[in-house]
Amino acid sequence: MSEVKKNLVRYQDLIIKIREFFYSHKVTEVKTPSLLLSPTTDVYIDSIEVKVNQAICRSAELYLHTSPELEMKRLLSKGSGDIFQICQVYRDNEYGKNNSNEFTMLEFYRIDFDMHHLMENIVDLLAALGKTEAITKISYAQAFFEYGNIDILNSDLKGLKKIANSLGLSSNYDWAEDLQTLLFVHLIEPKIRQIPICFIYDYPKEQAALAKIEGSVAHRFELYLNGVEVANGYQEIQTANEYRDRFNTEIYKREKISKQISLVDEEFLKDIKDGLPNCSGVAIGIERLFSTISL
């Protein structure tokens, strides 16, 4: 068998195993639109704009989805139950060894799962894919204590700037979350490279994204495989008002750093007006996962 064919079959096996895992857990596969009316509001993710229908005088600007998250949440709010999707997603301004303008995402939602339950589910999925190394689970705060001797949750913008300066790094950042991320990339990521499977959970509330906040932390987690970020998950916020607030925060930040902004997606908020069920969801980068798996 040629190397190309070997790799194609290996990839196919991975996708088959993922599907089998979800089918056996009674999770329904869905397919949602990838051309959307609104760009993402995420401050550090940029949508790719596409112009359509110019020749038929119905010109419109659409945006390739950067993740199927909101479209899947529409389904959840309408009673879809547990769902998963494997799709291509597109992001502008991405470059590097582990980044590109398009990649394959596995996204899934489990009803009545909290964050820890969902992490357990991912461990089972990894096992089904042949990844059975020891699992490390460590909170964001604990990781900073252990690998950097830093009390991250009790460091404000001023304190974080001082830490960055003491490490000889620029402290020219506007928000605490940016400095938290700088310190994470600088201090923590190189340390967790030795760990095959590492979950980091309970992010500082400034980095909540769309996760539920409790006290000073958000029930958000990330999965790192040998120091490479592979998954990002939340115990999901449920009401339209919470979504509106989170979108507005991101839009405000985009405006502050002079990025293209869009209005809050009112259609989405209308569609989820009855709220999402209590659930947790996660997005997994398939190419990055594939590169760590030997099926």
């Binding site: 991405e94 470059y95 790094l169 990339v185």
Partner: protein
Amino acid sequence: MNYSTSQFKNGMKLMLDGNPCSIVNNEIVKPGKGQAFNRVKFKDLITGKTLEKTYKSGESLEGADVMELEMQYLYTDGEKWHFMEPESFEQFDLSEESMGSAINYLVEQDNCIVTLWNNNPITVVPPIQVILEVIDTDPGLKGDTAGTGGKPATLNTGVVVQVPLFVGIGDKVKVDTRTNEYSGRA
């Protein structure tokens, strides 16, 4: 001239905390929900130390005017070590501190790489392999030719290297300057 993170590449010479440094490794890290960073490993060209820094993509650093030139080692007057650039015949000198371990391996007329920063020499890298003469060592055991054991030998630059037992005073030996190891008889 300033260089932005998007121009960073291995081997690029930049100013860091007042010292010229060379990029050893440059990694772009874009957290899913965060901004993009460059995690960069540098070698300080003066101290030789490795430094790790992380920059927000788009930050920039001042370039360092650093050149590596092949030169001939001329002589030492005890305080300075003198070198000549063979094309321009321009001469440069380095202090003992800047010479570092190169002191152990250079004999007159040897060629080596001298790094200039703002036209001042800052470091010298000797050839990977040099030929030096044994000026002192204990007599070897009779009949030992396989070189199974070892003994210290002082070479003509003053450096001490472990050599096989059969090597005697006056012998010329090859030394690997990266490891300070004997690599054969010359």
